[in-house]
Symmetry: C2
Subunit: 710 residues, 2 copies
């Protein structure tokens, strides 16, 4: 065997892309060379064949070349090694070391009584050797990245065997990337990290090295599926399904090397727009035939194609309503075409009236998805995944968990998160979302102790719809605009692999990988400081923005910065109804929109009651007076003032803490984060002053502490 040659031209924390030395350098994120130090200094035996095993070989060879270790691939002689990465069913395993390792692994596995599956792996010690055993090449790759995460701990003689299998079969990113630059939304809709990794000005971006580096990062976080174009499908994007399929295949060819399957967002109107038919009616035979033939052609070109993502009859996108059909008819049409090839359709449940009259207090956007979809439960084909935003409105910093997630027992349901920070600071603000997602995943919609949202996404027999998130990545040198926003992407992948993970522990993993000891002056100080900055940053963001779950109050259109009445008289169904006496939306059954009644009884009762409703969701469910006393003991109005003053103080503390890292970490990271913290402080002050001023002017209640409000 030969060790591949690599050109490693790098500055601190930056790795030149090994596939194209001409490319501008990009940040290594959670896979800097130093993360491979422990692995790369050792003797490693890899056993198995196939493209994904080649990827493992590449990774190990690069690490060994850098750090003085050595790698063998399926050798015919015995060698002394420290680590074996092997497929359980691999033929010809002559090395006695490998045989001993496999025996140890098998023993551990037999003890466990389970199989490894397509992506699982087992890590066990056999004498002085650490063994990673997998049934399939993807498992070997995930096992490798696990060893990287563990660093020296992977070689701890006392380490007990560990079995790792993803809780969710599909751990998916949705890219809202446009092929052609949209006149309003730009290259990436709600993208805050530069252009697209896939597309530029109507054409493929063509940077396959960057694409490969992206796949590598995603695989190391656990993500195994990706849709490569916006769910709002315009003309150029629609054609990816047919005459521009080659552009998609090119992406799939690269991402396949990291076990990632490619999905496409398609327009429901494709038979008309692309096929020249006069209808896209699901009941029309020609339409069904068109989808069948088109889908067959996709699989001929991309055999492991994942499937379709569809936003239909939502915010102006076409859908089955045009033809008097419902969402089940629509989704099943596409599912039928995908079924022979093993593909799935992700059908988004984000359907509501986006031309609502603000005068009408009976219509409630929060109710819409439930009202649309629960009557359809049981009618979807098995390869339909109903993709449901985690909250009933739209990715706010605080919402209740969507009742839809608990309302379709006979449907495969996926939970949709938003890693891109549309409403949570747009990657100019530090807002680490791990704790929020974890809270959602641990939420038990049938009441405490019952099944959780994670269980719903997993499914009773592992056939749940999985976890999906809107990506926060782009062609920015730091991938995510804000360097610390990388942690959100990493955390999403890890929670999708195992929703029970402690988000703080995941953040710690990310920090250890991203800021490895050799690249920092004082790794412990860096880690402690980052925890101080990031751990509670989601709640800090909540404090200085819209209060008590009321949501929105953002600047219309771009959704950045405060505008308390920005959506109050709009058609979007997102209101707060603040008047001189009180604020909030009555969603009770008794006197409001009845949304609270969409939950199973336990939560329906809790949310129904202004007394029992959790403080942080009070204004989502109830219109209360400014002098209403919260569980915290504070009044609503004083809570608004206090949290907004506190939020700014916390951001100012973040900035001070970050400044203590100057000189300890990569200057490029330091400067970028420092600049964004300046903006975060400015913006937080703006939020504080506008929110406080708005409510002081409206309520007339002075701040109990006499602080400055305008």
């Amino acid at each position: 065997m030969s060790t591949p040659e690599f050109v490693d031209v790098e500055g601190p924390m930056f790795v030149a892309d090994p596939f194209d030395v001409e490319e501008p350098q990009v940040h290594a994120a959670w896979l800097p060379p130093e993360a491979f130090r422990s692995l790369g200094a050792r003797r490693v035996l890899v056993h198995g064949d196939g493209p994904l095993v080649d990827t493992v070989l590449d990774e190990v060879a690069r690490a060994c070349a850098r750090y003085g270790g050595r790698m063998w691939h399926s050798p015919s002689w015995d060698v002394d090694v420290d680590l074996v990465l092997t497929l359980r069913r691999a033929d010809a395993l002559p090395s006695s070391t490998a045989q001993a390792a496999r025996a140890a692994g098998e023993a551990a596995l037999i003890d466990d009584g389970r199989t490894l599956g397509d992506e699982g792996f087992l890590l066990a010690r056999a004498g002085d050797v650490t063994v990673v055993l997998a049934d399939a090449p993807a498992g070997l790759l995930y096992g490798l990245f696990h060893v990287v995460r563990l660093c020296a701990a992977a070689f701890d003689p006392a380490r007990p065997p560990e079995l790792h299998r993803p809780a969710l079969r599909r751990r998916m990113l949705n890219h809202w990337d446009n092929v052609a630059v949209h006149p309003v939304m730009g290259q990436v809709e709600r993208g805050y990290a530069g252009g697209s990794i896939f597309w530029r000005d109507g054409r493929p971006r063509g940077d396959l090295a960057r694409l490969r580096a992206y796949g590598r990062l995603l695989a190391a976080s656990g993500i195994n599926a990706i849709s490569v174009n916006n769910v709002n499908v315009a003309r150029a994007e629609a054609r990816l399904l047919t005459d521009r399929l080659g552009d998609v295949a090119e992406i799939a060819d690269v991402l396949r090397l990291y076990g990632i399957r490619v999905h496409l967002s398609v327009t429901f109107a494709a038979p008309v727009a692309l096929g020249g038919l006069s209808t896209a009616d699901p009941a029309d035979e020609a339409v069904r035939a068109w989808w069948a033939a088109t889908t067959r052609a996709v699989y001929e070109r991309i055999p492991d194609f994942g499937g379709y993502v569809v936003k239909a009859d939502s915010e102006g996108q076409p859908g089955p309503f045009t033809y008097g059909r419902d969402h089940a008819d629509g989704a099943n049409l596409l599912a039928e075409a995908l079924a022979p090839h093993g593909g799935v359709v992700h059908w988004r449940a984000f359907v509501y009236d986006h031309h609502q009259d603000w005068r009408d207090r009976s219509t409630d956007r929060a109710r819409a998805a439930y009202d649309h979809f629960t009557p359809l439960d049981g009618r979807f084909r098995t390869n339909v995944v109903l993709q449901v935003k985690f909250g009933p409105v739209d990715f706010q910093v605080r919402e209740p968990v969507s009742p839809v997630l608990a309302a379709l027992p006979a449907t495969r349901v996926a939970v949709e998160f938003q890693v891109t920070q549309e409403y949570t600071g747009q990657q100019r603000h530090i807002c680490h979302l791990g704790p929020w997602w974890s809270e959602v995943l641990r939420f038990a919609p049938w009441g405490p102790g019952g099944r959780t949202i994670a269980d719903v996404a997993t499914g009773e027999k592992g056939e749940g719809g999985g976890l999906v998130a809107v990506a926060n990545t782009g062609d920015d040198p730091f991938w995510t605009g804000h360097p610390l926003a990388q942690a959100n992407l990493y955390t999403f992948g890890r929670l999708a692999w195992d929703p029970r993970l402690d988000p703080r522990a995941v953040l710690d993993e990310w920090m250890t990988l991203t800021f490895p000891p050799s690249a920092t002056a004082d790794p412990e100080l860096v880690r402690r400081t980052l925890h101080e900055i990031m751990d509670d940053s989601w709640r800090t963001y909540e404090r200085y923005t819209a209060p008590l779950g009321v949501g929105f109050m953002v600047h219309p259109g771009d959704h950045y910065g405060p505008d308390v009445d920005g959506y109050e008289y709009s058609r979007w169904g997102t209101y707060h109804f603040a008047d001189r006496d009180g604020v909030g939306v009555d969603r009770s059954r008794a006197s409001g929109t009845g949304f609270a009644g969409q939950y199973p009884p336990y939560w329906a009762d809790v949310y129904e009651s202004p007394e029992r409703c959790p403080d942080e969701l009070l204004l989502f469910f109830h219109h209360v007076s400014y002098t209403h006393v919260l569980h915290s003991g504070s009044t609503v109005i004083q809570h608004i003032y206090d949290t907004h003053f506190a939020g700014v103080e916390e951001v100012e503390a973040m900035r001070r803490r970050w400044q203590t890292l100057n000189g300890m970490i990569d200057p490029a990271v330091y400067v970028r984060v420092a600049e964004r913290l300046d903006e975060q402080v400015r913006s937080a002050i703006e939020w504080r002053d506008q929110i406080n001023t708005y409510f002081l002017r409206k309520s007339g209640v002075p701040d109990a502490h006499g602080r400055r409000i305008y």
Copy 2:
């Protein structure tokens, strides 16, 4: 002599452009063929030579060809005619009729004791002949259009002699047309009538026939100057001054035929951006030389070029502040270059801090122009015209008259109006602005009975800066989007010719021309109905939008539709400070920003006092409680409710009245106006409900009449 041939292919009210039968038809506006019926049926003698006389000949020949009259041009034999149009100093006047006519004219003129000037004309009867006498060809053209306006009355034997000379030397339109489409502002900034008449997608539009038709309409209204590009000068527009000067010359060549001089908006940074200099400092010799040479080149190409329009150090445009110079230094730099050629620089006074902090109540945008410019009075060269928006803020439906207009006695001051309806319904709403402009022009800033704003624009010796307006025209088939918005353009031209005209009489003129008897079933009914719809439409618009002079409350960015808090926490300096107790901006000297003190004593005292301040400006000058009682006897809050309910009722009445015209006028006009009235009703309801709801929620004061507020 020969009568030119014309191709007249037309539907009712539409005239095919005679210069290009391939052009899409455009509406004839106030010059439909029927308007020339009275003239065209008569025998007309034209005497004089030159390009403008050729234009007169064209007009008369076309009219006679259509309506059976006959035209002679400087004949060598005596003819019996009904109308003579003649230059007083024309050589060789052998016709005895012409001689008699001239004698009559001279006699009348001598009685009057004045001269006619460059643009004036005299209309008098000599026996059975109507005589139009002018000193210069432009006067002959204006006299011709006067005869058209008068119709049969021009031939009334008992008509006494009339002398007409424009009160204002320069009657100017500013086009905010971009050459290249601006990514946000489009082809025409604040344009609501389609694309530009001059430009399309970075190039000249090239439709010289349309351009000529435009010049003809403008001349018939009295306008004699036009700037052809936006005051916000971007890259493509900047180059009109130098290497794209030919594009401007082409426009000038056409508009010259109607006595209209072309002006250019230029960027103060031109010496750097175009000239390659390292500075645009007015004190720099190379800069002065560059402007001198550049301007000389302009005049070589366009001998009657009007001059420059400059927006400097305003809303991000470059200006002299960069170099530590003031506006006088900047304006004089350009004036110096223009002076040898007789050109003027229009220097806009619209200068303010557009990055204001909403928390800061001491800074007042309304004060800014006065504070900037009054210290410079006397320092401007005589060919500088300081162009001042009529109000201190920005073309609102109601503002006080700008105190700047009364504060620079040693400066030539032009008053700037906005014919394009940026803040007055954007040509989707009927808002006839004649009464508003007339009110401004008649305002006596030094107190009742004193000199008026019209006097300021006229100047003590006719050397005032004139009247300027932002155009409302585009390539829309009706020129102005809303067909009835044509009346605003016509009225502006007429008031610029004579500010003492009664706007209602001008509107009547416009109606008579635009809806001539032969084109309507019942001309009197049409006229009466149009008066009912249009006469008070400005006040109607005021009623359903921002109340009592407080201004803004529009949707940010596009400025269409209500958004009460849209600018309340912004950087633009346009606030209302509504809280639960009251609303309005304290601009008094005693307790506010002191803006009221910028007026001469009479108005300073009136505006200073909440008791004496006119109701319609109360919230511009004072922050008062919702229960403050107006001169009208109503409270502020009840006034808000009442006017907003009334405004909608008036718009609904407008729509009903318009519907009575169905079948009586050109169907294309009928349908376009009907569609826009539907939108006006919808929008007025939205204004009513948002404004009323906003103030009910804030004040808690119920409507005395118990009407529905949300």
